[in-house]
């Protein structure tokens, strides 16, 4: 058998650079683009590419992801043969433990691969936004008889520092693989989308398991395979966005609102599937103004919404202004409240006349200046911002705060609010 019918999706990552969005959920379960979770893109790519047998490797906070995927019905993956399975670390008689890295996660679940007697498998990441038909890549992999085929894309060279940089020779063979290099030789990077010859992968995984490494696909497995000289690159044309940081998350959401979006959100030939909510259509009120925005079922708009993404059940009351913001499900923005460059997690309550993302002061966040400096203010799940409160830019407001947790005075740009501390600092 020489076609590829099994995919494993790495979805266990902590995603610490996504700040409080991934505080309570794995990165692939972070809401995206109005009605999706990030993992919907990889899963939909699988089923649209004819792959209906998928294992999802989870470790960090899998409950949100588990609820989202369920039995895989939304992707037509509730099947007798194949389907979708969440592979969480487990205990057994042999040596098993928490996954020590992405490679270890697959190694510990190797029986799943063996059972399928698959000569080749597809390995994907659950935290990328892209449309990709995996079939041409698989065909290229089989045609060349490669040990591994790595999908590559090009980013500006300075941005390549955050990725695995791939050196290709003129035949498309990978000659070098540098994970997060300080000085990238090029902008050609790995997308974290691989086809492996099962036997070659297994050999490297077994070897790596005995070593004291990070057990990471990018750091350890790929370089080891590259040394064997039978790894090729496969260039993916088209949009691909790694949702690694708050800035990239914010940008990828707002990319959808451009007059010329980088990929059509609605492509009937390549639908992105997700479990649907039971909300009625979006209701736009008589005083509402909506421009350059995404609205979803269950959202109710009576205020002004510009360059923003509203998730199901988001309510924008009369006189409120929402600009350049991402408003997640069932969040309420009270009358006359003003949001600018704000990410509100689910079920946040913004009191009337509150101002969030206020002012021109761009002081980076005090506790994580490296991730929160471009002016985005983020508010965690279910927090209730008091009436009339003022919150500056680059602020991090934790989940589950109530009105009484907030100080009487304004929270300046760069501020942090956490329940334990109970004060802005």
């Amino acid at each position: 058998m020489s076609f590829v019918s099994y995919a494993m999706i790495l979805a266990g990552g902590l995603g610490s650079r996504l700040c409080i969005l991934s505080e309570k959920r794995a990165k692939p379960a972070v809401p995206f683009g109005g009605k999706y979770r990030i993992i919907d893109f990889s899963l939909s790519n699988c089923v649209n590419s004819g792959i209906f047998d998928v294992g999802i490797l989870t470790q960090y906070r899998p409950l949100s992801l588990r609820d989202h995927i369920g039995i895989g019905r939304a992707w037509d993956l509730d099947r007798k043969r194949g389907g979708v399975e969440l592979l969480q670390p487990f205990q057994g008689w042999a040596e098993t433990d928490w996954y020590r890295g992405t490679a270890d996660a697959i190694h510990q679940n190797w029986t799943r691969v063996e059972e399928r007697e698959a000569e080749h498998i597809l390995v994907l990441s659950g935290d990328h936004v892209y449309h990709m038909d995996y079939r041409p890549m698989i065909e290229a992999h089989l045609a060349r008889g490669a040990d591994a085929t790595v999908a590559v894309t090009e980013v500006p060279r300075e941005e390549a520092r955050g990725f695995g940089v791939v050196e290709l020779d003129q035949d498309g063979i990978v000659r070098g693989f540098l994970e997060k290099p300080a000085a990238p030789p090029s902008g050609i990077i790995s997308m974290g989308v691989y086809v492996f010859r099962t036997s070659a992968l297994h050999a490297v995984l077994r070897e790596d398991a005995e070593l004291d490494t990070a057990h990471d696909f990018g750091r350890n497995i790929l370089p080891a395979l590259v040394r064997g000289g039978r790894v090729q690159g496969f260039r993916h044309e088209g949009y691909w966005q790694d949702i690694g940081t708050l800035d990239s998350y914010y940008r990828a959401n707002l990319d959808l609102l451009r007059p010329d979006p980088p990929f059509p959100l609605e492509d009937l030939r390549w639908p992105v599937f997700t479990p649907s909510t039971e909300f009625p259509p979006a209701r736009i009120g008589s005083r509402a103004e909506v421009r350059s925005s995404i609205v979803t079922h269950g959202s109710i708009v009576n205020g002004i919404v510009e360059r923003s993404v509203l998730f199901p059940g988001a309510v924008i009351e009369e006189g409120a202004v929402v600009r350049g913001s991402i408003v997640m499900g069932e969040t309420w923005v009270g009358p006359q409240a003003v949001l600018d460059r704000v990410i509100l997690d689910k079920r946040v309550h913004v009191g009337p006349r509150a101002r969030v993302g206020h002012g021109t002061d761009m002081t980076p966040n005090r506790s994580c200046p490296e991730h929160l400096s471009s002016g985005i203010t983020i508010v965690g799940k279910e927090t209730r911002i008091p009436e009339g409160a003022t919150i500056g830019r680059n602020c991090r407001i934790s989940a589950n705060l109530i009105e009484e947790d907030f100080p009487g005075e304004a929270i300046p740009s760069g501020g942090v609010m956490e329940r334990e501390l109970n004060v802005a600092h």
Binding site: P271, R283, R291, I294
Partner: protein, 441 residues
Amino acid sequence: MTAIPPVLTLVLAGGKSDALRALGRIRTASALPYGGKYRVIDFTLSNCVHSGLTRIGILTQYAPLSLHGHIGIGRAWDLDRRDGGIRLLQPYVRQRETNWYRGTADALLQNRNVIEDAQARHILVLSGDLVYKMDYAELIRVHEEHDAALTLVTVQAPNEEPERYGFVQADRSGRVTALEEKPKRAGGSVVSAAVYAFRARDLMERLRRPEGGPDLVRDVIQPMIREGAQVMAYPHRGYWRDIGTVDSYYESNMDLVHPLPPLNLYDPDWLIYTPSEDRAPAVVGGEAALSQSLVSHGARVEGEVRRSVLFPGVHVGADSVVEDSIVMHDARIAPGARLYRAIVDKRVAVGQDAVVGRPGPELGPPAPGANRDSDWAGLGLCVVGKGSVIPAGSRIGPNTLIEIGVTERDFPAREIAPGSVIRPGGAARAAVARAAPDRAR
């Protein structure tokens, strides 16, 4: 342990509604798209599951494919069950006496084996073409409390078109003394809501009588009342609309975009379920102006939309206007086109700069329940049938009916007079429509 579930629900969803014109020819009224993402029958089915009624038969006959496709195995309502769930009951061929359903009572009689096998104590008979929210569990409770042979639900009589309703007279105890079907003049203040709770044995006994006829009201309910059976009235106080005509269908949709909608679709305890489509969220462009409207997934709005209902996948081009209109799935409104008071069926294409209907800023949507002229022409609506194409630059007068599958060639001129009918493969005929009091003037 409830060994025998006491209620079997039968939904009548097979009727042909000529008054719905091009909207009703390709589908039974129960399958009409409604409110941006629903079909009308979703209200009845959602009421059932919220009321805990999960044994449901749907009687279909006329143009059922759209309905069958919509219901599937009932998953959207959690009605894909081992016990009970949804069954579609289409007429079938028998060894003897094969017949289409000749009427509502006949449809029930032909399914007597379904009723008997259910061993239900009560049979709830519903209509799939009504828009309302109602707790049937409470109805059944009151029905049992009265030990009634039949409890029929009543609603306040609408102000218009008494000939479409059945007027109910009841005594002080709530016992029904008369039910007068489709009178020329209103015969009282309450009408039947076409929601009936029958004691199963009373219903079966009536249906089986050799002198019985095919109609549920005329041949079962009215004789029961006349012969003194315990028939009780049960008033329903909330929203209730029969959408069996173009005007009533239009008005009920417009009720939803009213600033204070009389029907709340957003009640988390009584959501209306429907199979969801895998469409992307709606995208609103930078130059769009959108107000007082419902917008569904897959819609793309670049133009102006006011007081309108947009179904999934509708595209409204730049510099276009959609006002007081209902636009169904995947219709395309080209840049510069204008729609006023139009009902546009699925996959209609309105060409660039075409004008459909007549603007009436002073007209506004009729207030819910307000009196009006009782003809389709009364509201000045244009209806555009499924898949039709309206040529670029054409001007379509109000009250025009454009049939299903009309192409550009079928338009005799760029200017179409008010009240015209455009048919596929034929020239336009001047409307025979009654001289409509044109309220736009």
